[in-house]
C-alpha cells in the first residue's frame, strides 16, 4: 500500500460511501409503511398507569427490569439506586452511590445483582443481599473504568460480563470477576449515550448511539464497527433492537424516532409529528414489535405503530421529563422513569373489559 496519509484515507472513505449510496438508490426502495399499506390500522389506544413508584428524592435517570418480570432497579441524580418489587410497590434494597448523576443501571440476568454508574466514570456491581442489616456497599465490586461519565450499562447473557458506554466516546466489554477489559470499541467521534445487545442467535453484536448523531453496530469479538447509520440530526439518546434482531430503533434530540434495517443497511421508517418538538430520551418495543414506545423531554410518552408509522397514543402523566423507558420482559407493561422523581408502570386500558364487567347488578362502572 502506498503511504497512507489522513487525506488519502478520507478521500477513499468518502468515495466508498458515495458509491454505496448510489447502489442503494438504484433499488428505488420503499419505506416500511408502504410495504405495510394493506394491513389494518390500529386505531387509537388508551393507556393506563397501574403502579406509581414513589421513593426517589430526585430525578430518576435510568431503570431496568429483572427477568422475573416484576422487579426493577432504578437510579437517580442524587446517587440513590433502589430495587423495587414494582408489583407490590415495595422497596427491597437501596444503595447510595458515592457519586451523583447515576445515569446507568442494569439488573443482572440471575436477579442476584445490579450494576450502576455515572459521574464516577465507573460501573460497579452490587450483589443483592437478603440480610436487611447488611450494607450493600460493603460487597461492591468496581468493574469498569472509563475516562468520562458512564452513560449506559448492561449485562450480556450472564452475570459475568458487562457492556458499558461512556462520555469518553468508547464502549467496552468487561469481565465482572476480575474487572479486566475484554474488548474496547472505538469509532464514535463524541460521547456515546446508549447501547443495546442484539437478540440474535449468535449473540455477538450490539448497537450504540452517540452525540455524533451516529448509531454503530459492533462485533463484540473483534471490536470492529460492522455497520453505521447517520441520519439523525442530533444526539441519539436511546437505541433498542426490534425483537427479531433484524433492525433497531433510535430516539434522538431531533424529536424523531427512526427504524434502521440491518439487512437493507438503511433507515426504513421515521416516527415524527409536527407537534412533537422536544427530544426523545428513550425507546422500546412491545413484545411483537408492533408498537414503539417513546419517552420525551416534553413530559409525554408517545406510542407509535411501527409498521404504519402513525402515532396510536399519547400519554400525559409525568410532571417532568421522561428520562427512561423499558418494556417488561414478558411485555405485560412498560415502566417509565422521570425527572418528576417517580416511576410508572403502564399498559393498555381496555374498553372491552369494561363492558364484560358491567353485569347490571350495580350502577357503578369501574374502569379497569
Amino acid at each position: 500500500r502506498p503511504s497512507d496519509t489522513l487525506t488519502t484515507l478520507k478521500t477513499e472513505s468518502e468515495t466508498l460511501k458515495t458509491k454505496l449510496e448510489e447502489e442503494r438508490a438504484k433499488l428505488h426502495d420503499v419505506e416500511l409503511h408502504q410495504v405495510a399499506e394493506k394491513i389494518e390500522a390500529l386505531g387509537q389506544f388508551v393507556m393506563k398507569t397501574r403502579r406509581t413508584l414513589k421513593g426517589h428524592g430526585n430525578k430518576v435517570l435510568c431503570m431496568d427490569w429483572c427477568k422475573d418480570k416484576r422487579r426493577i432497579v432504578s437510579s437517580s441524580q442524587d446517587g440513590k439506586v433502589i430495587v423495587w418489587d414494582a408489583f407490590t410497590t415495595n422497596k427491597e434494597h437501596a444503595v447510595t452511590m458515592p457519586c451523583t448523576w447515576v445515569m446507568a443501571c442494569a439488573y443482572a440476568p440471575s436477579g442476584c445483582a445490579v450494576a450502576c454508574g455515572g459521574l464516577d466514570n465507573k460501573c460497579s456491581v452490587y450483589p443483592l443481599s437478603l440480610d436487611k442489616n447488611e450494607n450493600l456497599a460493603a460487597k461492591k465490586k468496581s468493574v469498569a473504568m472509563h475516562t468520562n461519565y458512564l452513560s449506559a450499562c448492561c449485562f450480556t447473557n450472564s452475570d459475568m460480563q458487562i457492556l458499558t458506554s461512556s462520555g469518553d466516546g468508547t464502549c467496552a466489554l468487561w469481565d465482572v470477576e476480575s474487572g479486566q477489559m475484554l474488548q474496547s470499541f472505538h469509532g464514535h467521534a463524541a460521547d456515546v449515550l446508549c447501547l443495546d445487545l442484539a437478540p440474535s442467535e449468535t449473540g455477538n453484536t450490539f448497537v450504540s448511539g452517540g452525540c455524533d448523531k451516529k448509531a454503530c453496530v459492533w462485533d463484540m469479538r473483534t471490536g470492529q464497527c460492522i455497520q453505521s447509520f447517520e441520519t439523525h440530526e442530533s444526539d441519539i439518546n436511546s437505541v433498542r433492537y426490534y425483537p427479531s434482531g433484524d433492525a433497531f430503533a433510535s430516539g434522538s434530540d431531533d424529536a424523531t424516532c427512526r427504524l434502521y434495517d440491518l439487512r437493507a443497511d438503511r433507515e426504513v421508517a421515521i416516527y415524527s409529528k409536527e407537534s412533537i418538538i422536544f427530544g426523545t430520551s428513550s425507546v422500546d418495543f412491545s413484545l411483537s414489535g408492533r408498537l414503539l414506545f417513546g419517552g420525551y423531554n416534553d413530559y409525554t410518552i408517545n406510542v407509535w405503530d411501527v409498521l404504519k408509522g402513525t402515532r396510536v397514543s399519547i400519554l400525559f402523566g409525568h410532571e417532568n421529563r421522561v428520562s427512561t423507558l423499558r418494556v417488561s420482559p414478558d411485555g405485560t407493561a412498560f415502566c417509565s422513569g422521570s425527572w418528576d422523581h417517580t416511576l410508572r408502570v403502564t399498559n393498555r386500558f381496555s374498553y372491552a373489559r369494561l363492558l364484560v364487567n358491567w353485569s347490571g347488578s350495580h350502577s357503578v362502572i369501574t374502569p379497569l
Partner: protein, 457 residues
C-alpha cells in the same frame, strides 16, 4: 524573547540557557559521592547497569534544591521530557514516577544541546535499522514516517540502508549488556525527538481505516431493499401479536391489571409453582424459531428429552457447555475448556460430538491456547446441525404434538369490580435467594431455572 529563530551565525536558536542549567544538574546527579546511588537493574533476562528508581531522583532533588516533593516531581519530569533521563520499563511513556520504576541517565552523545536538531538522515537510519533487525517491528506511526522519509530523501536511500547495515554489524560485536544499553539510549533519544504524531491524528487515521474496512464488504454484496424482505416485519408482528399482552391481552389475565399473578406462575421458568401443563401459546411459540425453543427452559428440557430418544443429546449438552465458556468467568475458562474437550471432543469421549474434520482440527489447534471464543466454530456447527435437522423433526414428533394437544388455554380471571374484593398483591421470593451454590462453582449465572424449587411465600 525575540521571535527570531535564527541566531547571529545562522544556527537555529534554542532554549540554550535552560539546557545548560539542566545539564549542570544532571552532571551533579551523577557525581560519584554526592550523586544518586546507581545499581544494576534486571530488564527481562538482561542486567542493565547504572540504573536508579524514580523515587531516588525525586528524593535527591528534594534534598539538593530544598523543595517540596511536588516541585521535585515536576522538575524531574522535565529531565525526562527533554531526554536527559529515560525510563527502562515503558520507554514510550515519558513520565517520571516517584516509585520503584527504573530510569537511566542518557549518554551525553544524545544530549539535546549536542545533537540538536535531530536530522532526518539519522532518523531514517534508525528506522531502517529497526526494520532490518525485525521485520514488522515498526509501529504504525513509525511506518508512516519511514514511508514518508523514503519518498522525501529517496536519493540517499542507498546510503541510509548501507549505514543501517553497518551499524547493526558493529553492534553485534558488542557484549549483550552493552548492546542493550546502547539500544535503550538510542530509542530514548528518538522518542524525545520524534514523538508519535498527535494522538488525535493517529486516532482519526485509525478510525478512517476502520470505516473503509467496514464499508468495503458491502461493495461485493448485492443490496436488498425493504420490498425484498418478503414482508418480514409484517409477518413477525402478526405471528407474535397473540403473544403481545399490550396488543392482545393475555390469559388468564394481565397481572398488573387484575393483581392476579397466575399468568406469571403458569409461564414460570423457575418451577416455583409446579407447572403441570404449559399454555398452548407457550408451546406454539417454540415452533416460531429454534431460538424461541432454546430460550424457554421448559422447551429446552422437552427438546433434550427428544434428543435423548434420538441418541443425540450430547449435541445440546455440548452447546450448553460452550455457552458457559463464552459467558462465564474469565479465570475459569482454561479449566472449563479442558472439561469440554474431555467430555465431548477427545477421541473416545463419553459424549463425543460429530463435528466435521476441518472444524475439529481448527478447534483442537486452538485448544492449545484456550480463550473465550475458542469453541465458537464447533459450537456454531453443532447449533446449525440441531437447527436444520433435529429441531424440525422435533416439531413433527409425537412428543411435541402431544404436548401441544394437552397444553391448556387458561380461563380468564376478571378483576373484581368491588374494591374490597380486589386481590391482595402478594410479594414473591426474591431471585437473590437462590443460586448461592451456583455462585460458588463459578458457573455462569443465568435466570435460576436450574436451581430447583423454592417455596412460595
Amino acid at each position: 524573547m525575540t521571535i527570531n529563530t535564527l541566531s547571529q551565525d545562522g544556527v537555529q536558536r534554542q532554549q540554550m540557557p535552560c539546557l545548560t542549567k539542566m545539564e549542570r544538574m544532571i552532571i551533579s546527579m551523577q557525581d560519584p559521592d554526592m550523586g544518586i546511588k546507581l545499581r544494576n537493574q534486571r530488564l527481562l533476562i538482561t542486567v542493565i547497569p547504572h540504573a536508579m528508581t524514580g523515587l531516588d531522583i525525586v528524593e535527591w532533588l528534594i534534598k539538593k534544591c530544598s523543595i517540596s516533593d511536588e516541585e521535585a516531581l515536576h522538575v524531574g519530569q522535565l529531565f525526562v521530557k527533554y531526554g536527559y533521563i529515560y525510563p527502562l520499563k515503558e520507554p514510550r511513556n515519558l513520565i517520571l514516577k516517584a516509585d520503584d520504576s527504573s530510569y537511566r541517565f542518557q549518554t551525553p552523545y544524545y544530549w539535546m544541546s549536542t545533537r540538536w536538531p535531530a536530522s532526518e538522515l539519522d532518523y531514517a537510519i534508525y528506522l531502517a535499522k529497526k526494520n532490518i533487525r525485525k521485520q514488522g517491528e515498526l509501529i504504525e506511526y513509525e511506518k508512516e514516517c519511514y514511508n514518508a522519509l523514503h519518498k522525501r530523501i529517496n536519493h540517499t536511500w542507498d546510503f541510509v540502508v548501507m549505514q543501517a547495515r553497518e551499524q547493526l554489524r558493529a553492534s553485534k560485536q558488542r557484549r549483550k549488556g552493552d548492546r542493550i544499553v546502547l539500544e535503550c539510549q538510542e530509542q530514548a533519544y528518538w522518542l524525545v525527538n520524534r514523538p508519535p504524531v498527535s494522538p488525535e491524528h493517529y486516532k482519526l487515521t485509525t478510525l478512517t481505516k476502520n470505516t473503509i474496512a467496514m464499508l468495503t464488504p458491502w461493495c461485493s454484496l448485492k443490496y436488498i431493499g425493504v420490498s425484498n424482505l418478503n414482508g418480514s416485519y409484517v409477518k413477525y408482528c402478526e405471528q407474535y401479536q397473540p403473544h403481545d399482552p399490550i396488543m392482545q391481552g393475555c390469559l388468564p389475565s394481565n397481572p398488573w391489571i387484575t393483581d392476579d399473578i397466575m399468568f406469571w406462575n403458569m409461564n414460570s421458568e423457575t418451577y416455583m409453582f409446579i407447572v403441570a401443563l404449559p399454555t398452548k401459546l407457550r408451546v406454539e411459540r417454540w415452533s416460531f424459531s429454534f431460538m424461541e425453543l432454546l430460550n424457554d427452559q421448559m422447551g429446552r428440557k422437552e427438546f433434550l428429552t427428544y434428543l435423548e430418544k434420538e441418541f443425540s443429546a450430547e449435541n445440546l449438552c455440548f452447546w450448553q457447555a460452550c455457552e458457559d465458556v463464552r459467558h462465564g468467568e474469565t479465570a475459569k475458562i482454561p479449566e472449563k475448556v479442558d472439561e469440554v474437550y474431555k467430555q465431548f471432543l477427545a477421541p473416545g469421549a463419553s459424549r463425543w460430538v460429530n463435528i466435521d474434520s476441518k472444524t475439529m482440527e481448527k478447534t483442537l489447534e486452538g485448544l492449545k491456547r484456550p480463550h473465550r471464543f475458542v469453541l465458537d466454530d464447533a459450537q456454531m456447527h453443532i447449533y446449525f446441525l440441531m437447527k436444520k435437522d433435529s429441531y424440525p423433526r422435533y416439531l413433527k414428533s409425537e412428543l411435541y404434538k402431544n404436548l401441544l394437544a394437552r397444553a391448556i388455554v387458561p380461563q380468564e380471571t376478571k378483576k373484581s369490580v368491588f374494591p374490597f374484593m380486589r386481590r391482595q398483591r402478594h410479594s414473591s421470593p426474591s431471585p437473590a435467594l437462590a443460586t448461592q451454590t451456583a455462585e460458588d462453582d463459578g458457573k455462569a449465572k443465568y435466570s435460576n431455572s436450574n436451581s430447583g424449587t423454592a417455596s412460595r411465600l
